[in-house]
Assembly symmetry: C2
Homo-oligomer: 324 residues x 2
Amino acid sequence: MASKKFNNVYLKDYFSLVGPLEKDGLLNNYDLAIDDYYYGEKTFEQAEIKMQQVVVDNILNYNKLTDSKIDLLIGGDLINQISISSYNAARFRIPYLGIYSACASFCEELILGATFISGKLAKRVVGVTSSHNLNAERQFRYPVEYGAVKKHTTTFTATGAVATILTNEQSNIKIESATIGESVDMGVKDVNNMGAVMAPAAVKTLVTHLTEMKRNANYYDLILTGDLGLVGREIFLEMLDKVHDIKLKKYMDAGCEIYTNSQDTYAGASGPIALPLVLFDKILNSRKYKKILIIATGSLQSVTMANQKLGIPGIAHAVSLEVL
Amino acid sequence: MASKKFNNVYLKDYFSLVGPLEKDGLLNNYDLAIDDYYYGEKTFEQAEIKMQQVVVDNILNYNKLTDSKIDLLIGGDLINQISISSYNAARFRIPYLGIYSACASFCEELILGATFISGKLAKRVVGVTSSHNLNAERQFRYPVEYGAVKKHTTTFTATGAVATILTNEQSNIKIESATIGESVDMGVKDVNNMGAVMAPAAVKTLVTHLTEMKRNANYYDLILTGDLGLVGREIFLEMLDKVHDIKLKKYMDAGCEIYTNSQDTYAGASGPIALPLVLFDKILNSRKYKKILIIATGSLQSVTMANQKLGIPGIAHAVSLEVL
């Protein structure tokens, strides 16, 4: 079974920080915004480490928790060796597990945190993830100073960091269940079309979730995918319809909900923070939705494998949230 | 609490593959050995993906299991975006979680697998990890063809792959408990001295484990650290003695048990497979030890951060095994 039902796992709190472009976009209810991509540091990578530190510091402070009250810190990001998360973890005295599923990392963190709590092996777990446009560009593509031309299928890595606290104490948001996705390689080789890489993985995870949990898509008040973007979103909806005869009515993709049309971000936002930013800002904050299925999506590409002309695997992990 | 006690988690089986140098070294009881660093593939990275595939295929076949009987595949490796593991995972139809803690990844996989099984969220979990000397060298340092001079503190990334199956069905090896380590940055900046980076993390994890589990070091028939190597091993033992007044009597470091003195591997073996290769080959196979504490150690370095002259965080995760 890819799907898991959790016992007594709750989302206690979340905290978000966004970058300059995200501040000027469609989001309103983030907790902090920065105007400077360096964030007072010497390099963009060190800025991203500080972004992670600030969201973890803040979520602990707001909840009057110190390091010793947290059983586990789970971190992941896009930078080689997930070094943003590992370097940030060194600033805390909390047991640390590093994870990687590219832009699906947010859901992987929730699933692992929920597994520890559900099995009574932890009481409080902090998850943190981040992305920084200029770090991702220079690592995966080109430094933005080169001015490389972008394809319309390209997504734009959002800048920001998010932290969550999961606990076994009841809050108004329950982590009800989850479905762990498979690594799915459909032979797509275009690193500038991550939507096409991830859409089949998202379809597979959603269909598995609904089948194993014996639910239909209308069970959820909202299904929110991670960062398929304008192109991946259409492939996702078409595959669901044509292959599985599922027509989604209450659906949103986080990649399409962060930037305005005039912000020139091609096919929309990507990055592991895209889904949580929209979830925190637009979905949970609206109090309009009770049953929410989030499906974070990741393109498991690397420069090395792309240079070797291999297909790119995609992955998607789903988490069911109940607002009580 | 960094330490966790598991309910009904057993190591059902393990499978190992080693490279040419490892075959000629001190190990005897690996399952497969390869003579060709390309393993019949076009690139070293594709060879490493095949190595992972072969160990997973074999462990499933030997145990008469198919993909659908495995609830979860956990994978991690040293290559950017853990692409070896993610590309290998695409060859199976098993839900997949990617993890990263450098050479501590083997223990992270055991801990996560045990957490799913202990909490009754999975029945069978396969873990896989690998390293390939020529991939690690060209990614972290220089392609070996450059003939860069090595310092005596340098460890030699071992070539190989290992797979494990954890289950809730009793076998003769119990996964009894574990301690999740912290990311520890002592300011060491020398990427050619990973032993010095990892030793303080190993000390911290061991002391935490003994304290939280109310055990002294003699409780264990053997304490086996991951890949500290000749240099890190001495720092580890000295810190334990001088700072914590702990003198280890029944101790071994896997990094010192893979190559012969004449193999010219500087300070010994490293890589996420170093510890499991010695555990499978020398420790479990000998049937001499009942209570074993393995402490896998990782240097969380990256080329990007090393170029920015930051200190390197180390990490160590401990798992207690009981041979029944």
